[in-house]
């Protein structure tokens, strides 16, 4: 297992995702003799996991079953232990594309935080790229290093423990892209410019507050960055439901069994759930928005470093 290369069978030392059901999953480190408790009973690593194929159904001790999934950065983002607020895949997607990341890209990032974005970056720039990530919080930095090793991507990332606003990224003229997720990104813009390649590159800053964006844009402009744009991306998830709506009684039913005109309950629905209701209904499939959704994560400010 490695986050950058698919494998088929579960091996000792792998991080696997145990999928219990809708939106309910957790990561597990596969160890010989290891045991994992789920609500369906215990999973014994040696017999239930090691040697099995990813994506297969594993029966737990109480007879219930779970699926074991291959870890992707997206699944990791949903399952990692939060040390900080993290970036989710919706923002990560836009960041990755707008920073033009691809295999071979050299990227600078700060702070590392819980390494949610870091895993996605590493996935994208492997096998020839490199991530330089800076985290001034000693414990978080160490934890991130540990995870990278565990996920077998340590060779693609360098974690530095220093203050990016004071000391920069520790590299100059190497990066194709810089990402900032820190409280005062405008203080790091100069360092970002130094870290970027001489011939240019892309920068992104993530800030929850508009005042931070204002100051960052000013700093970017002062440092000669161009194509400065700010955007915000929102994810709308829909639940798929079969809805049935009653047809109101307009008091006309008396004369000749009405239903001829109204094509009620006949909308070519193979799984018509309620065939013979006393009152007529119309059924249809709908994508129903969730009652609540994430309305704001942060503003994403992008810019280009140009030679001129």
């Amino acid at each position: 297992m490695s986050f950058i290369e698919y494998g088929d069978t579960i091996k000792e030392g792998d991080t696997a995702i145990v999928f219990l059901g809708h939106e309910s999953m957790f990561p597990v480190k596969v160890q010989p003799g290891g045991k994992t408790q789920t609500k369906y009973g215990v999973i014994r690593h040696s017999t239930d996991l090691i040697g099995k194929k990813y994506g297969s159904k594993v029966t737990c001790s109480k007879g219930g079953w779970v699926y074991i999934l291959y870890p992707t950065p997206e699944l990791w983002t949903l399952n990692l232990r939060h040390r900080t607020q993290i970036l989710y895949s919706t923002d990560i997607s836009l960041i990755t594309m707008m920073l033009e990341l691809k295999p071979g890209s050299i990227v600078c990032e700060s702070g590392t935080g819980s390494a949610s974005l870091s895993h996605a970056i590493i996935r994208t720039i492997a096998p020839t790229g490199h991530l330089y990530t800076v985290e001034f919080h000693q414990q978080r930095a160490e934890k991130a290093i540990e995870e990278f090793e565990e996920h077998k991507v340590g060779h693609l990332v360098t974690v530095k423990t220093q203050d990016v606003c004071k000391n920069g990224f520790g590299v100059t003229n190497v990066a194709d892209a810089v990402f900032l997720d820190i409280p005062s990104p405008w203080e790091a813009v100069g360092h970002a410019k130094l870290a970027l390649k001489h011939e240019g590159g892309r920068i992104c800053s993530f800030s929850p507050c508009i005042e931070q964006v204002q100051r960052t844009c000013l700093a970017l402009e002062e440092h000669g960055f161009t194509e400065i744009t700010t955007s915000e991306i929102l994810l709308r998830v829909y639940n798929v439901r079969t809805i049935s709506l009653q047809i109101p009684d307009l008091g006309k039913t008396a004369d000749g069994n009405s239903s001829t005109g109204v094509d009620g309950g006949n909308l070519s629905n193979e799984d018509a759930l309620c065939p013979n209701l006393p009152q007529e209904t119309v059924q249809f499939k709908s994508g129903v928005p969730l009652k609540e959704m994430v309305g704001h994560t942060g503003y994403l400010t992008f810019a280009t470093k140009n030679l001129f």
Partner: protein, 558 residues
């Protein structure tokens, strides 16, 4: 106060422009999409192919020499070279072009040649002069009208239509004299009676507006998924099924697209999605493009300017043959033998002939009646043909390694039937390879983004994917994805199904003037994502539309 770079705000005017482009799309296509005009202006004419084939097309090493003279950093991939694909950018408007000498390009109502741009670094800005040549602009000028007077409000500003003392004819005369756009703007300011009374912000806005109109500065940038997907969504959204760039970004992430993958891509987005996947895979791994009709459309793919090596791991396979691969009845013998000796040589369309033959015999999928639609995109096809030639050409110019390449480079050697046969054998070999790849049913991911109804496509193509792998289906409309969702639930073998959409909001950030942009995109399509798992009960029978048992359905909801 710091000067801010000119970032055009979203104006109602822009919305009108979009609408007018859309109208024009139905009417005069040539005007709406100047690059289409090239097709008609003979750029893709047989003569052009002739020149390419016979090596008269100026090659990369030539342009490298040019680059050397112009810039000391010629060896860098950051230098604009002849044969490159580049993107022109003016404000928020993009256009992808092939860098070819002595070729007239029309962009934003101006025409010019790219000759002078060759040898400059990507990201350089150019000013278009009246003669159609480009003058590099080293520093983006900061125009500071010295008048720092400004009003505080507009209570005394009356719209009498007489505030501008220069008449239309005056302005035209200035333009005809070849006066720089910047100076015209200065003149407009000086001759505006109300300018001094405007507030500082209003003055700023006025200058930006005029600059946008008269100051013709254009930047040449390197193509990327970011640039091309933005460009396509703005210019030709119909060709990419209204797939907005942030939605494409989601596809790439949720598909876990990365180096080393074995991907299956089925798209009718002009090859944009394919290009995006190729960029993310960096030439590592393999991609099988499943195409409907006669052959894959890759007009947008070619705009990326990928090195030739990226195409080594790319293969294509007709959608109409997928079912036969799955059932094990696929064989090349069922295809008619490829004999194309009688085709005119100079107009060889890079083997699209075999495609025609391949897709005709057994049309067992739903694309059968739609083949006609495919052929209704001649300009796409032509684009592909031209560029694959150009790519070959370019790659040979740079690498100069393959024997075939050297032979092809030597001038005055006509294309013989041997070459042709070789090409066709190569194509046949690739087809067998692709079939073998599919047969393993162990793809690392599936991406579907087409104009077809996705349900049947998805059910079929998911058979080719290994367990515990992500898949992403794009559709411009939500309803077909609702159906997909229901059918997948019924069939099983997938978990974590999610129907979603992203909204993208752009902001104007200026001191004391920050707000969301006036116009935002109304919709960029919908995605259905999920993860494959082993479908134990179905493993035994290969039947595609086996009716689901109640039991499984209950289990899904546990």
């Amino acid at each position: 106060m710091t000067k801010w770079p000119s970032r055009p705000t979203a104006l109602r005017k822009k919305g009108n422009k979009v609408a007018s482009v859309a109208r024009a799309f139905g009417g005069n296509r040539k005007r709406a999409f100047p690059e289409l005009a090239l097709v008609q202006e003979g750029f893709f004419s047989p003569l052009f192919f002739f020149r390419v084939e016979f090596g008269q097309f100026p090659r990369r090493e030539d342009s490298g020499r040019v680059a050397m003279e112009a810039s000391p950093r010629s060896s860098s991939p950051h230098v604009i070279c002849e044969g490159d694909w580049a993107v022109l950018k003016r404000g928020d408007v993009f256009k992808a072009v092939a860098v070819v000498k002595r070729r007239k390009i029309v962009f934003e109502k101006q025409w010019f040649c790219l000759d002078n741009a060759i040898g400059h670094v990507y990201g350089t800005s150019f000013e278009v002069t009246s003669g159609g040549s480009l003058q590099p602009k080293r520093t983006l000028e900061e125009m500071n009208p010295e008048t720092k007077e400004a009003g505080t409000d507009n209570r005394n500003i009356i719209d009498d239509g007489k505030s501008q003392k220069l008449t239309h004819d005056d302005i035209k005369a200035l333009k005809d004299k070849g006066i720089k756009g910047q100076e015209i703007v200065q003149q407009l300011i000086e001759n505006s009676t109300t300018f001094r009374d405007k507030t500082e912000f209003a003055q700023d806005k006025y200058i930006k507006k005029k600059k946008k109109k008269y100051d013709a500065v254009m930047t040449i940038i390197k193509p990327s998924t970011r640039i091309l997907s933005t460009m396509y969504y703005a210019r030709e959204p119909g060709k990419i099924n209204y797939l907005r760039y942030d939605t494409l970004a989601q596809i790439l992430t949720w598909g876990n697209v990365h180096a080393g993958n074995k991907m299956i891509v089925m798209e009718t987005c002009a090859g944009l999605v394919l290009g995006a996947v190729m960029e993310r895979m960096g030439g590592y791994g393999s991609i099988v493009q499943i195409y409907p009709g006669e052959g894959p459309v890759r007009a947008a793919t070619s705009c990326f300017g990928f090195p030739k090596t990226f195409f080594d791991s790319l293969s294509e396979f007709p959608l109409s043959k997928v079912a036969s691969v799955l059932s094990g009845t696929f064989s090349l013998t069922s295809l008619p033998s490829v004999s194309e000796e009688n085709t005119p040589v100079a107009e060889d369309k890079n083997g699209s002939g075999d495609d025609k033959e391949l897709s005709r015999p057994e049309v067992d999928m739903e694309c059968g009646p739609k083949v006609a639609m495919e052929s209704g995109q001649p300009e796409d096809q032509e684009m592909v043909e031209f560029t694959s030639e150009a790519l070959d050409d370019k790659a040979k110019g740079t690498t100069f390694k393959s024997e075939e390449g050297i032979r092809k480079l030597s001038p005055n050697q006509p294309i013989n039937t041997h070459d042709k046969q070789k090409k066709q054998e190569e194509k046949k070999r690739k087809l067998i390879e692709a079939a073998a790849l599919l047969k393993n049913k162990d793809a690392d991911g599936l991406i579907v983004a087409s104009r077809f109804h996705p349900a049947s496509l998805l059910l079929l193509l998911l058979e080719l994917v290994a367990p515990s792998r992500p898949f992403v289906v794009y559709c411009q409309y939500k309803e077909p994805l609702l159906e997909c969702y229901a059918k997948l639930r019924e069939k099983g073998g997938v978990i974590n199904l999610k129907l979603s959409e992203t909204w993208l909001r752009n902001y104007q950030i200026l001191p004391d003037r920050s707000h969301p942009k006036l116009i935002m995109s109304g919709g960029g399509g919908y995605l259905l994502t999920g993860i494959t798992v082993k479908n134990e009960s179905i493993n035994t029978s290969d039947c595609l539309d086996e009716p689901s048992t109640k039991k499984r359905k209950l289990q899904e909801h546990h």
